[in-house]
Symmetry: D4
Subunit: 249 residues, 8 copies
Amino acid sequence: MNTEQLKHLLESVRLGDVPVEQAVESLRHLPFQDIGCARVDHHRELRQGMPEVIFGEGKKDEQIIDIMTAMAQNGSNVLVTRVDREKAQRIQRTFFGALYHEDARCLTLEQGPAATKGKGVILVVSAGTADLPVAAEALVTARFLGNETEHIYDVGVAGIHRLLALRTELVAASVIIVVAGMEGALPSVVGGLVDRPVIAVPTSIGYGAAFGGIAALLGMLNSCAAGVTVVNIDNGFGAASAASLINRM
Amino acid sequence: MNTEQLKHLLESVRLGDVPVEQAVESLRHLPFQDIGCARVDHHRELRQGMPEVIFGEGKKDEQIIDIMTAMAQNGSNVLVTRVDREKAQRIQRTFFGALYHEDARCLTLEQGPAATKGKGVILVVSAGTADLPVAAEALVTARFLGNETEHIYDVGVAGIHRLLALRTELVAASVIIVVAGMEGALPSVVGGLVDRPVIAVPTSIGYGAAFGGIAALLGMLNSCAAGVTVVNIDNGFGAASAASLINRM
Amino acid sequence: MNTEQLKHLLESVRLGDVPVEQAVESLRHLPFQDIGCARVDHHRELRQGMPEVIFGEGKKDEQIIDIMTAMAQNGSNVLVTRVDREKAQRIQRTFFGALYHEDARCLTLEQGPAATKGKGVILVVSAGTADLPVAAEALVTARFLGNETEHIYDVGVAGIHRLLALRTELVAASVIIVVAGMEGALPSVVGGLVDRPVIAVPTSIGYGAAFGGIAALLGMLNSCAAGVTVVNIDNGFGAASAASLINRM
Amino acid sequence: MNTEQLKHLLESVRLGDVPVEQAVESLRHLPFQDIGCARVDHHRELRQGMPEVIFGEGKKDEQIIDIMTAMAQNGSNVLVTRVDREKAQRIQRTFFGALYHEDARCLTLEQGPAATKGKGVILVVSAGTADLPVAAEALVTARFLGNETEHIYDVGVAGIHRLLALRTELVAASVIIVVAGMEGALPSVVGGLVDRPVIAVPTSIGYGAAFGGIAALLGMLNSCAAGVTVVNIDNGFGAASAASLINRM
Amino acid sequence: MNTEQLKHLLESVRLGDVPVEQAVESLRHLPFQDIGCARVDHHRELRQGMPEVIFGEGKKDEQIIDIMTAMAQNGSNVLVTRVDREKAQRIQRTFFGALYHEDARCLTLEQGPAATKGKGVILVVSAGTADLPVAAEALVTARFLGNETEHIYDVGVAGIHRLLALRTELVAASVIIVVAGMEGALPSVVGGLVDRPVIAVPTSIGYGAAFGGIAALLGMLNSCAAGVTVVNIDNGFGAASAASLINRM
Amino acid sequence: MNTEQLKHLLESVRLGDVPVEQAVESLRHLPFQDIGCARVDHHRELRQGMPEVIFGEGKKDEQIIDIMTAMAQNGSNVLVTRVDREKAQRIQRTFFGALYHEDARCLTLEQGPAATKGKGVILVVSAGTADLPVAAEALVTARFLGNETEHIYDVGVAGIHRLLALRTELVAASVIIVVAGMEGALPSVVGGLVDRPVIAVPTSIGYGAAFGGIAALLGMLNSCAAGVTVVNIDNGFGAASAASLINRM
Amino acid sequence: MNTEQLKHLLESVRLGDVPVEQAVESLRHLPFQDIGCARVDHHRELRQGMPEVIFGEGKKDEQIIDIMTAMAQNGSNVLVTRVDREKAQRIQRTFFGALYHEDARCLTLEQGPAATKGKGVILVVSAGTADLPVAAEALVTARFLGNETEHIYDVGVAGIHRLLALRTELVAASVIIVVAGMEGALPSVVGGLVDRPVIAVPTSIGYGAAFGGIAALLGMLNSCAAGVTVVNIDNGFGAASAASLINRM
Amino acid sequence: MNTEQLKHLLESVRLGDVPVEQAVESLRHLPFQDIGCARVDHHRELRQGMPEVIFGEGKKDEQIIDIMTAMAQNGSNVLVTRVDREKAQRIQRTFFGALYHEDARCLTLEQGPAATKGKGVILVVSAGTADLPVAAEALVTARFLGNETEHIYDVGVAGIHRLLALRTELVAASVIIVVAGMEGALPSVVGGLVDRPVIAVPTSIGYGAAFGGIAALLGMLNSCAAGVTVVNIDNGFGAASAASLINRM
């Protein structure tokens, strides 16, 4: 249901063409669909400019398939995050066109181009080899949401010359997502080099006092570079969603 | 020093007009200025599109005045955050033109309009009366950086109709900063209503298990609304800096 | 042993019909039964209005069976929580009439109707698909304790219209249990819409800074909606027990 | 605005007596009132059965007075929590009829009896002398919301006979609020003795590993007595609000 | 080497019968034995009144066997804690006389009676069925160190009458070890009933906000009963060692 | 009320000399005394072998005086802990005989010798100069409870020879209380040198990652020396209470 | 590229022999090599005096092999840490000359002697048998980096005489690495005995309140012995790297 | 007492010139001096190569003066850390020659040159203006211990060019102490640029999620630059002590 349809319905109420009760029902039931285990939010694309995305972790095969079915029938493209290879393969038996992105642990089902196109390039910068899966989730999500992307990898701050050599690429980006574990210092350095919004993603990479990403998270929240914002640990998807909204402006 | 000046200098080295040593000196000393207690980063405006901002907490009067002097002489506008009324008044004796913003605990010295103008409106939404100082810091910063701002206050999620009544204002904004303490649930609700980037600022408001803002911070990092990013507790300045970079796109 | 029996015993002591030592023994040994590995508290139903419930986690098959036997022989209905399917099946070989509730991971053995009936409806509201098991534990427990129940699912705060559409159901409930992970914001919103007691159950759903339910727990403890109380992470059973006591008033 | 008034307005829209825009305005502006620093939620009494309560901490004198004025003019009774004696005295200069409760650090302004009366007695049980202020906040709030109250004090678990001697009082209550610091064990013992809802309030009393109430909070969340729910540290007000909703059933 | 031998050696140095260097060597090498992976502390029994005990977790089979061999050859009794059944069986192939205590996950090799006998009874009180393994470790250790023991189980504070019925047993003990998980309230209640030292052992039993025993640990450290001391989470061995030293006085 | 009096009362009930109701009253009201703000536990001396001790922190002057009066009239000796000099002086105006121990921040009122005498010497060992106040609280308490005491100070583990030089004193003690802040390593070293119970008291001394005593607390809980038990941070009183119970055996 | 080569290049720019663009390229691309998944930092040996080391955890076989290949072709020796036996064996199929160190979980490929030789002996002191793997990682790393090493094991502080007997070895070392879990007290004692830099490595050994090494980490950070510095939990590699830099001075 | 004197004493024992008891006394009492509140460790200079340093926080004036007196009479130089201006002035009334270093909050009393001279320069690098006091403590301590020092300030990672411009100074140092608050990223960057030992000092500078230095501490412990070791939060003294030991090698 889009804005025009909504206006029309309300006018009909005013004219008496549609009784109050009926209008109430339309408005109550249309924007989401109760499929037994979930209420699929078809309204989200209208409200938020991007379709609902399925968080795969902790959901059973059937639950994911039911939600995908409801969305696909509504014409939406579908992105499922946090699915391992086995679960993905079982789902692909129902949705032949679905594509599995192994590094990113994501499944996409695209029935058409993304509704909105991003204006510039979303650049993902990742610190170490072990941060690659989170970077991959960000890249898959950003592309799914209609953006061009670039990727710079393995540029930790202990070899700062590797990053400085890529300044041109940094400056050319529209939004930058920085993915780093351990001490999470990379966003501060990147943020100090560019005049673009930087979204920092702490990863759970590290050991001991890394505490599963807390060290990196705290480092990023305390970044001395203005203009850096942070998302949850390992949340490549969330960073790409935010970057995508920014890239449309 | 701007990009043109830089190119010129390097050309001169190539032509032999400027010896290597001298060029090194220029490049070494120009971008920042050593004033005894600090190295003022005049370069930042070039690199990041906004002037260095002085974090007032833990700095002595003389230190702040020295840094302000160096910046003012360079023609920059100056923003000092986290200064209490007494310290501000002592500084104003040196800088008559400086303006103190009591709610925001900020001091501004503006010698001209902001270098860059934001395109849309930065909307600050705050949850409770006690969150107002952090919201004020965000508002002062956003205006200092050349943006138009709006403010919606006292719209906590326990009276959700207050927020829903202001949907038009929400949708009209370019970027939204949401300031909330206690359980920090407001960004999730706002993020679900709009298609704009939402920057969440947890505040240290609350008691007991609020743990000085940790509850709100965790709530925001775990927001189920895609497109929400987070800054440090009480960091109204950081949120406005990020919003400002976004608002220029 | 009920209140009447107690009075009678004490009168007998006064009349000298029962010697002091014997009375002491009766009072010492009746209210619970030592079965070697546990002391079954037959007294609890008298004192608390509900039978002892067996927490299955960390107990061996034989231990559970011994306790169930002691309770069943005493005529009590039996509820075992936190049992996985395999353990349940092994126990069902001894208790043919026991019913396993897979989603809730609960086993019930009902020999008669619940001793007390609840007056109104206990409504369980859950935020995401992954919160369903905890919601199921609450539902099974509430029914076992003699209450009518309803369930609203998948109404997270990032799509607030889904919840608002179900206001009638919310208002009709007697007590509301709200089950949510991640930022745990749902109880605040629900609590602001109704004039009924709301019991919040944080779940361990989420990742990264969700810290196994801590983010949701803190969010709920800091709820800005008055009238919200909280139980332990994933404690669907505890929420239903409390709701049940309330629903009898 | 009450339920009847709402129905009437909607009928008028249907009949064309009130244009859509005007109805929207009424519904948008009536339920709360923008007083410059806050949006007073006059609607809350309708929705939640109790008036909005002012959390005094971190609010300036004028802010509290402005909110009190708006509420008083609307005919509401007013409760302000967390106000110290000095602030209270300054406010009392504007509201002569306001009463300060020193132990509870609360200010009440009562223009008539509470809208709703509780059915039974709300019993507050507190563990140590130092827990008295939190107990007092609960007692003042419960009375303000129209309930009869009783208080049992200084019955810590290390002298369990003191509590057992008061069993009659425990059993006679409708709802029990248990206030305790240090190890927070009291709610478990009380919860095991009665068949009434128990609301546990951890206090920040203690030192060292009490961590400002965390030990007591964790103890209560892990209570082995079913039917115990918990509120935030030192939150006597929240416990009494929840108890009050329960006591009306 | 015992006290007498030591005196003799030093006298010999004074008389010149033993050169300084040789004496140094004796004193350097006797009290412990380097077996390649460990330095077995034969001196401990002299110094501390009890033999070194082998903490089995994280040690390989051969390492345990080597240490046991060194101790056995020295005539010591041997206790190995934290060994699972499989590891124990492999070790028993070398030490036929070693006895495995399954509940306690301990292995004992006793070549004679304990060097010292305890004077009274060490009573172990455990809260729930799931706390039994930790209680068992305490019982096995206490017996190994020459003490008589008793065990009271399943007496959680939510059914306080079960504990009160066993007051005679409590009062008869010399030292009491209280083992409890969840909220860890039992030691406070026991400590308030007796005039004996109470050693509290928090267990990792519980879920959610039990945080693997932290809730119980904090509860016990904050016990309002004077005379309660605490050991590490699940440390039945440590509690029994301390109790044993006390029981010899 | 002592054990003899209790037996007599119960015999009287059996003989009909005392009606049931009257006996119940005696037993209910005697063991503690309701003085308006507290229930003084006169029973504790019987049950626990030591009088109730007043924790002064957070109590008002009048509250302390009321409790002291009730105890003094009952013939008990009185110990008040955690009182600063000013509060102590105000209390001494009512109790001329009360003695203030400045280092320990304790007030004692002794009307006769302690009921029970300890058998051996309680030795308090403290690590640094800044740990002295906690050591002093332990010393005052231990003496108040009828024990002989000794004190060894300033023997931190970084100068281990200072401790080794005092081995004779260590070995001569009956029970040892070890008070240490920072890394809290002292109890492990002491525990390894003696065959006596060691009670470790972490202090809040230190800075940064000492976290107000958490580092020392964790160090002590993880002590590799068997026979070490721990009390709350800065809890000199608790350590002395436990030591006192042990010293009577 | 070494320092001489760099000077030469810059001279050539000054003389016009090398155009600016070409020089920029040389400097940009030489110091590291992009191999698709990583940027191998060949420059590190020049800058830091030791080759880049591969952290094996979380890296796939191919990734490790690719990086090893790039480094080996460059003539570097290669150290891979945190590789389990299976992964090591798969890698050894490509690099026949690679040596697996099982205890240390390290793989080394040495094509020549270490570039730099350490001057003195690096001594590794470890507390318990379970700390051996971390000690082994430190030993392998120290040797790989060109140092002589010694190892003292099983000298926990609860048997302090074992350590004191080895004073000669302690004093003879150039740098001392102390590896300890549980309460982490060993570095303080060692640090107090020597006049050499001590690097403390907390290990994740322990249980309960050891919290995976946090107790040891905090203990070491709060060490009362001056001259002790700390690395991350289980970070034997880091300690040896630091020790190696010190040992060259 | 130095090494020669020790040898002489032992020889005398062997020759019978000094009886055993007397030798024991000499060895027992010489190395430290009991001054009533402390045991001054005159031995430390022999053992550790630097005199005992007085940690001023939490010590009373008289205690500091007593310790200083004992040390001064022994001919030692004296350093007192963590003394505020007022306390320092009161102490200076006794020790006219003592010098107060305001920024560092240190008091020094130097009676001669430091016993040992450092070989190279200890460089202190600090991130922000607010980190200066901790840097100052490190500088004062390093100089007191006989080292030459340099200081680079205000070179945070968000303006990385400021640091890169000072590479020459970095490379020239013998040991580098890096002082930083907030995200604590500076040691990683510095560590990656040099081949010298880097000692990282986290400061308590920052707010919100800086948690009083925890964020910086974790960042530094997780540094991806090999060769970085860490000391406690704000522990400038400890860093300089370690650096000093290294600088003598």
